[in-house]
C-alpha cells in the first residue's frame, strides 16, 4: 500500500501556505471543516467560468453541460460510498440531510414509538429528533458511553425493542474521535427488530475511513462535502432505493415534479423529488472533485495515515503535564480527533495562545452539549488532524500548549 506524503499533499492546498502571527500555519481544526485542494477550487472556478447554467430545464449547450456535470457528480458520489446513483440526494450538508430525512420519516412515527440515539451525537442528530418526538409523542432512548469513551454495546439488546422505529447514530464522534462499530450495531438492532430504520451520521467518517453503505447495512446515511476537502453548502443524503420510493418529500417546488395542476401535483421519482429548487451545481461539482481527489490518494492510505497520526498524537499529548485527553487513549478504532482539557486553563484562552503560535484548533462544547454534560465538562479544546497534517504539526501543537501553560503558570 502506498504511504501518503503529507508534505506533498499540503502543497495541493494553497491556503495552508501562509503565516499566522509569524508562524507557519498549522491547521488542526479539520473536525470543523477541512481546507480545499486546487483540484476542488479549480473545478468550481471552471464550472462558473465555462459551464454554469440551471440543470434539467433548458435545452441549450450550457444547460446540457451543467446537467451532465451535476449528474456525473451524483455517480461519483454513489460509487464513493457503494450506493446506486439514484440513491444519492444532494442537500446543503449533513444537518440539512438529517432534517429532511427526519421530517419525511415523521409521518411513520406515532406515540410510544422509540427512537434510539447515542450519548455521543452531534446536535444535528439530536435536535431534529427531539422536535419530532415532541410532535408525535415518540420517545428518545440513548445508547450510553463507557469510561473508555466508546459506546456500551452491552445495552443494545435492551434498548432495541419491538417499539423501536429508528436507530440513528454517528459513525465517528466529532469530540471523542471514537469510530463506532456501526455495522455490528445495525446488525444486532435488525436481528432484534427487522423494521428498525438505521441511519448513520457519517460527517466525520467519510473523510477518514472507507464508508460503504451496503457493507454497513444502513438504510440512510448523511455527510457533508466540506469536511472531506469539498466546498461548503453541499452534502449528501443516501437512502436505500426501496425506502425512497415511499418517502414523502418535505421540500416542494420546482424541479421535483412531473405534473402540476391547480389542484394537484405528481412528484418526480427519487432522488429528484427530494431536490426542490435550483440545486447547488457548483457545490456538487466541487464535491465530485473532492471525492476524486481522495480516491486518488486511496481511502486505505488515508485510513493508515489517520491511524499513524492518532498513535503519534495520543503519545505526544500524554506527555504533557496537566493535560487530560477526552477520548480513548487506545488508537484502535479511533480518529485523530484530540479533545483535551488543561488544568487551570479555559479552552478559549488555550485557543487564543495557540493561535499566536500559528496553530488553529477549536474550543467549546463542539455542538455536543449532552455529551459534555455526561462527561461533567463545560467544554474542551479540540485538535483534529487530516491528510495534510504531519507529525511535525503535532509537535508544533505540543510546543504551543506548553507555552500556553507557562503563561498561565500551570506548566509544573
Amino acid at each position: 500500500m502506498n504511504k501518503l506524503n503529507s508534505q506533498k499533499i499540503k502543497s495541493d492546498f494553497p491556503i495552508l501556505n501562509q503565516k499566522i502571527n509569524r508562524h507557519d500555519l498549522v491547521y488542526l481544526d479539520n473536525g470543523a471543516t477541512t481546507q480545499k485542494p486546487n483540484a476542488v477550487i479549480n473545478a468550481i472556478s471552471n464550472y462558473y467560468s465555462h459551464d454554469n447554467s440551471n440543470t434539467h430545464r433548458s435545452v441549450h449547450e450550457l444547460a446540457s453541460r451543467a446537467t451532465i456535470q451535476y449528474e456525473h457528480a451524483r455517480t461519483i458520489t454513489a460509487k464513493f460510498i457503494g450506493a446506486k446513483t439514484e440513491e444519492i440526494i444532494f442537500t446543503s450538508g449533513t444537518t440539512d440531510s438529517l432534517n429532511k430525512l427526519v421530517n419525511s420519516l415523521k409521518h411513520q412515527l406515532k406515540k410510544g414509538d422509540e427512537i434510539v440515539l447515542t450519548e455521543m451525537e452531534h446536535h444535528s442528530n439530536i435536535v431534529p429528533w427531539q422536535q419530532v418526538a415532541k410532535e408525535t409523542g415518540a420517545v428518545i432512548k440513548w445508547i450510553p458511553i463507557t469510561d473508555d469513551f466508546r459506546l456500551d454495546l452491552t445495552t443494545i439488546s435492551k434498548l432495541i425493542t419491538t417499539k423501536t422505529k429508528i436507530l440513528s447514530l454517528t459513525h465517528v464522534s466529532n469530540v471523542l474521535g471514537t469510530i463506532n462499530p456501526v455495522k455490528e450495531i445495525i446488525k444486532e438492532a435488525k436481528s432484534i427488530n427487522q423494521n428498525v430504520i438505521a441511519i448513520v451520521d457519517a460527517a466525520q467518517s467519510v473523510p477518514h475511513i472507507s464508508v460503504n453503505v451496503t457493507d454497513l447495512g444502513c438504510d440512510f446515511l448523511a455527510f457533508s462535502a466540506h469536511k472531506a476537502v469539498g466546498p461548503m453548502g453541499v452534502g449528501v443524503l443516501f437512502g436505500k432505493s426501496q425506502l425512497l420510493v415511499n418517502l414523502e418529500p418535505n421540500h416542494t417546488g420546482g424541479g421535483m415534479v412531473l405534473e402540476v395542476t391547480k389542484d394537484n401535483t405528481t412528484f418526480n421519482q427519487a432522488p429528484y423529488k427530494f431536490e426542490a429548487g435550483t440545486p447547488n451545481v457548483a457545490g456538487a461539482v466541487g464535491l465530485a472533485a473532492a471525492l476524486t481527489y481522495l480516491s486518488k490518494l486511496t481511502m486505505n492510505a488515508i485510513e493508515q495515515q489517520m491511524h499513524d497520526l492518532t498513535v503519534y498524537g495520543l503519545e505526544q499529548l500524554n506527555t504533557v503535564h496537566g493535560l487530560n485527553i477526552i477520548g480513548s487513549k487506545d488508537a484502535k478504532n479511533r480518529a485523530p480527533v484530540f479533545s483535551f482539557t488543561i488544568k487551570g486553563m479555559h479552552p478559549h484562552d488555550i485557543g487564543e495562545i495557540l493561535n499566536s503560535h500559528g496553530v488553529a484548533i477549536r474550543g467549546g462544547h463542539h455542538c455536543a452539549m449532552p455529551l459534555f454534560k455526561r462527561l461533567k465538562l463545560n467544554g474542551a479544546s479540540r485538535a483534529s488532524a487530516y491528510i495534510y497534517n504531519s507529525k511535525e504539526d503535532i509537535d508544533q501543537l505540543i510546543v504551543a500548549i506548553k507555552a500556553a501553560q507557562k503563561i498561565f503558570g500551570v506548566d509544573k
Partner: protein, 138 residues
C-alpha cells in the same frame, strides 16, 4: 486604575500572547477580587456568553444611587473573569450614573490588553451584565 485615563498600550516589546495575557489579567483570573455570593443583594443578574460558555452572576447592594457592594460568581475564560474582577473593583463605591455611562472602550482600557474581534463578548460580559442588573431592577 482610573478608567478616565486609558492604559498605555505600548507593549511592542511583548509577543502577542504576552500582550493579551499580561500578568495583571492572569492575576485577576487566578485570584479574582470580589468573587462571592451576596445573600442580601438588592440587584442581581445572570450573564452568559454562549460562544465561550462563560457565565457570571452579578450581585449589587445599591443605596441612595450608590453602589455600596458589588460581587460576582461564575466561571469562564481568563478574559471574561479578569474583566468582571476588574470591573467590580472599579465600580465599588461609585454612583449609578458612573456605572451606566461606562462604554465598551472603558472596559477594554480597564483590561489594558488588545481585544480581538472573537473575544469582545468575553471582555464585555461583565459590563453588559452589570448594566442589565441596574437597568432592569430600577
Amino acid at each position: 486604575m482610573n478608567i478616565a485615563n486609558p492604559t498605555d498600550l505600548s507593549t511592542s516589546q511583548l509577543t502577542e500572547e504576552q500582550e493579551i495575557y499580561k500578568e495583571n489579567i492572569i492575576d485577576h483570573y487566578k485570584h479574582p477580587r470580589n468573587k462571592k455570593k451576596l445573600e442580601n443583594a438588592t440587584h442581581k443578574e445572570n450573564g452568559i456568553n454562549p460562544m465561550c460558555g462563560d457565565h457570571i452572576t452579578i450581585y449589587l447592594i445599591i443605596k441612595d444611587n450608590k453602589i455600596e457592594e458589588i460581587t460576582f460568581t461564575g466561571d469562564g475564560c481568563a478574559i471574561s473573569q479578569a474583566s468582571v474582577s476588574l470591573l467590580t473593583d472599579e465600580l465599588l463605591g461609585k454612583d449609578l450614573d458612573f456605572a451606566k455611562k461606562i462604554t465598551d472602550q472603558n472596559v477594554y482600557d480597564l483590561l489594558g490588553i488588545p481585544i480581538s474581534h472573537t473575544r469582545t463578548k468575553c471582555a464585555l460580559l461583565s459590563i453588559k451584565t452589570v448594566q442589565k442588573a441596574i437597568n432592569l431592577n430600577q
